[in-house]
Amino acid sequence: MAKNFSIKHQPGFTAIAATCFIVLYLPIIVLVIYAFNAASSTSEWGGFSLKWFQSAWQNTQVVDATLRSFQIGSIAAVLSTIFATMAALATTRTAPYPGLTFKYAAINQPLMVPEIVTGVALLIFFSRIKIFTGYSGIGYLVAAHTAFCIPFAYLPIRARLENMDLTLERAAADLYATPWKAFRRITLPLLWPGILAGLMLAFVISLDDVVITEFVKSGGQDTLPTYMLGQIRRGITPEINAISTAFLLLSVAIVTLFFFVSRKRD
């Protein structure tokens, strides 16, 4: 092998990299460009305009779905982060024991099970509950989103806990801190960046979900993605491009924030 092996100097590297970038980003670039299209078609260019953003902003259905998405996303993110934090503490602050691997698998199960299966299962399960309780509100969507967001919130929190020096908690206990006080004063503040990262990741994942939401939602409970899916069935207008573009900007903003928060070391 060459002294300084670098994959960058392998034949075809540049071509493959370029292809990947084009396949990944060209469609998105096209979508964003057509969001500023003055014509009402997605196939011809009618000059620059912001009118589709304006029309989306004034469309009460869009506003309604967006608010619902935010509502579900924020509640589900908070709940799933709380559960994920507890799960991460329980799976890292212990000596390895038989069955721990099984617990990892159970926590990460939503990553493995096909969403469509979860969707169908929840549809059947919740319909029974609806019959018994008569409740048909947004709670079902919140519960479903919370469940599949847990593994996403769990990952950064667990990573942070695993990197944390256990001696710090021991030192706190040595200095008369009860387990709860040691957690409040030492573990939690040091874990905070991980929790924030988990929270943001869970929020983005919830915002983005289509499949499970589509199965679980009742009439009039469209989130932004399911609303968009419904619109596309009736033919695409640049309004969808405008909504997508706004959505993209929001996601990029949150992911960027996530990156900086999870990188923070102190």
């Binding site: 040595d174 008369y176 801190a177």
Partner: protein, 364 residues
């Protein structure tokens, strides 16, 4: 040794700690008993894996003994969690809280004890002064040097005025010069605060220079407890003699044992006077140890004779390795002077003089 009150701060009674179970079980501590006096600088010395840190952790409460009792002023603390023991620890890694300032770190223990704010403030100021860190009170712990972190860790552990301070190899991360400084600093702190210190180290020099008493540990057992002088000059066992300093091992026949003294007949046929370790059981071939600096090399006849094999210059002194006629190896340490060499050359036939109180008979 200065007069110490005879009250025991810590009594470890028949403590065992067994890790694992079944075939894979390991006794980190094997029925260990030791008493540590009030206001004493007590050192647990031994190689890594000897159980010294395990014993410290049991006293701190980070782990619980499989059997036995740990008494703190007569009260069994072995089952208590660490936050209920009036004992504080200085960790090897310091374990300073990275999200707090130096002052907050030092005040943490007092805060957890629910002391009033004014009292905490005063005590933190006093501690900062004690460790000479007043100027850096507001700094984050990541913004200070290793030596300064060490001082903060000490101040943090001393602030709640523990009955016993545990120090787990606290100097091992410092460089040589700083370590020497901190050794003196630790002695000063112990003297000024009057707190009982239990110090864990694998560094025999550190143990000898700092301790009032030393317990030498190996394979989960305490082999010998005594003053540095006892440990160095009157080792009871081969492990102790070998682990601390350099020494020469000779085989001898022991006779005329009385009052801790005996006559040892060496392989060369010469007979020397020797002190005998406690609980020594008479046997035909005993081991006698002689420190290299307690023997003298001569060109005339001595108790031993041999040939100079190697000469190693150390600056303050010279080590002369002699191949004895009996086949054993013997090292003599000779103080250097500026004007003359050591006076011997490789290949010289030499005699070795062993003083009347230089030899010690080991019990194993």
């Amino acid at each position: 040794m200065p007069d110490k009150p005879d009250r025991n701060a810590i009594e470890v009674v028949n403590v065992s700690k067994i890790f694992g179970s079944g075939e894979g079980q390991v006794a980190a501590l094997d029925t260990v008993s030791v008493s540590i006096r009030e206001n004493e600088f007590f050192t647990l010395l031994g190689p890594s894996g000897c159980g010294k840190t395990t014993l410290l952790r049991l006293i701190a409460g980070f782990d619980f003994p499989t059997a036995g009792e740990i008494l703190l002023y007569g009260q069994d603390i072995a089952p208590l969690p660490p936050f209920k023991r009036p004992v504080n620890t200085v960790f090897q890694s310091y374990a300073l809280f990275p999200h707090m300032t130096v002052a907050d770190n030092i005040g943490f223990g007092l805060e957890m004890l629910g002391k009033p704010k004014a009292e905490i403030k005063a005590r933190v100021a006093e501690m900062l002064k004690l460790v000479k860190m007043e100027a850096l009170a507001g700094r984050r712990t990541s913004q200070i040097s290793g030596g300064q972190q060490q001082r903060v860790a000490l101040a943090r552990a001393l602030a709640p005025q523990p009955k016993v301070l545990l120090l787990d190899e606290p100097l091992s991360a410092l460089d040589y010069k700083l370590r020497k400084e901190m050794q003196i600093e630790l002695k000063r702190l112990q003297h000024e605060t009057g707190i009982t210190f239990i110090f864990v180290t694998h560094d025999q020099e550190e143990a000898l220079t700092m301790s009032d008493r030393i317990a030498v540990m190996s394979s989960g057992k305490i082999l010998q407890v005594g003053s540095p002088w006892d440990i160095y000059d009157k080792p009871a066992e081969r492990f102790v003699a070998d682990f601390i300093g350099e020494t020469n091992f000779l085989t001898a026949a022991i006779s005329e044992m009385a009052n801790g003294k005996a006559r040892a007949t060496l392989k060369s046929g010469a007979t020397i006077e020797a002190t005998v370790a406690q609980s020594f059981q008479p046997k035909p071939n005993a081991t006698v140890v002689v420190r290299p600096e307690h023997a003298k090399l001569t060109k005339a006849k001595g108790e031993l004779s041999g040939t100079v094999e190697n000469i190693v210059y150390f600056g303050t002194d010279t080590h002369i390795h002699v191949h004895l006629d009996s086949g054993e190896l013997f090292t003599v340490r000779q103080q250097n002077t500026r004007s003359a060499g050591c006076g011997f050359e490789k290949g010289d036939a030499v005699g070795i003089l062993i003083g009347s109180d230089a030899a010690q008979v080991l019990k194993d």
